[in-house]
């Protein structure tokens, strides 16, 4: 793919060699070490990648194939006017996962990183206000992690048992018949 030439230039500007690439079907992702995340994004921005299209995370702990870290964050960039795409991927470990925030480069990164924090617990030092975005204050845990069970609810107001009106009516009828 045409991204390979771009990625080689990026790798040499970071002073790294032999960075692996992963195929994402429509685009190829360059796997950068977590420590070079911000530098790589800055280089892309200087090359004209003015849009951060997407920044998402995934938890690979239950995946059968080995991955260099438990969590991965993938960011997609786009350059105008030719609509060139680039994708960076960084793996972070399970204990205190963290990646430097891209908020200073792209305004879009703000909410995307908040969601990655909310759903996975990945920290983004440098983010102005890293708080929950989809879940509510008081929710404990990070729902999209593989060890969070699907059905564990943390209700904000106590839930009551729904009344089975038919059963109540039948019990009353039976009591009436028994009495009469």
């Amino acid at each position: 793919m045409s991204e390979s030439a771009l990625y080689q230039k990026l790798a040499s500007s970071l002073g790294l060699e032999g960075l692996p690439e992963e195929s994402l079907g429509t685009v190829s992702a360059l796997v950068v070490p977590a420590a070079s995340w911000h530098a790589a994004a800055l280089w892309l921005k200087q090359q004209g990648f003015s849009m951060l299209i997407e920044l998402g995370a995934a938890d690979y702990s239950k995946h059968p194939l080995p991955h260099p870290g438990r969590y991965a964050v993938a960011a997609h960039f786009m350059a105008l006017p030719g609509f060139e795409r680039a994708c960076l991927k960084a793996y972070v470990p399970a204990e205190s996962p963290a990646l430097q925030s891209l908020c200073g480069l792209y305004a879009a990164a703000n909410w995307y990183e908040r969601e990655a924090w909310d759903m996975f617990g990945i920290d983004f030092p440098g983010h102005p206000e890293l708080k929950r975005i989809l879940m509510y204050e008081g929710f404990e845990g990070h729902p999209l992690r593989k060890d969070y069970p699907l059905g564990r609810m943390q209700p904000l107001i106590p839930m009551r048992e729904a009344v089975d009106y038919e059963a109540v009516r039948q019990a009353a009828r039976r009591a009436g018949q028994g009495g009469a």
Partner: protein, 157 residues
């Protein structure tokens, strides 16, 4: 006691029935719209299916001014306190309609985020199944609710 019409001009009936007749044909709904069911709610209020024929089209977006709370769409745990507060702010008499399967039972979203049916939070008078319910189902439920209101004791205090 049966209703009687005297000389084509005077109707004798019971106070409960008259009050219920007034209340059922002038329902002011509070559409608590969250999700996809809102589209069918809009469609049933618009020209094709027109709930205005039943007197129940005008929404009042203040809980103090409405008497029918239509919970349209999925309620999740983040939204539940808002729903409870809106319900508590409404004055009697009030009726609650769980519109769609997500409000009825949680639908097919049985997970950490959604409330499995709003009757775990507030009492419900009418459950409308469907994902989303067709406008004909909505009108059927509205007519059934009106029949139910007619049969209830109406308190005036």
């Amino acid at each position: 006691m049966k209703d009687q019409i005297l000389d084509d001009a005077v109707l004798t009936t019971q106070l409960d029935k008259v009050v219920a007749w007034g209340r059922k044909y002038s329902l002011f709904n509070y559409p608590f719209v969250t999700a996809c069911c809102g589209m069918e709610f809009m469609a049933s209020s618009a020209s094709h299916y027109d709930t205005d024929r039943f007197g129940a089209v005008f929404p009042r977006f203040s809980p103090r001014q409405s008497d029918l709370l239509m919970v349209v769409g999925t309620i999740n745990h983040k939204m539940a306190p808002a729903l409870k507060r809106v319900y508590d702010q409404m004055c009697e008499p009030k009726w609650v309609v769980a519109f769609g399967v997500c409000a009825t039972s949680g639908g097919f979203y049985q997970n950490y985020a959604t409330v499995p049916g709003i009757d775990t939070i507030i009492p419900v008078d009418m459950y409308i199944p469907g994902c989303p319910p067709r406008p004909e189902t909505i009108i059927d439920a509205l007519v059934k609710l009106q029949a139910r209101i007619q049969g209830q004791r109406q308190s005036l205090v």
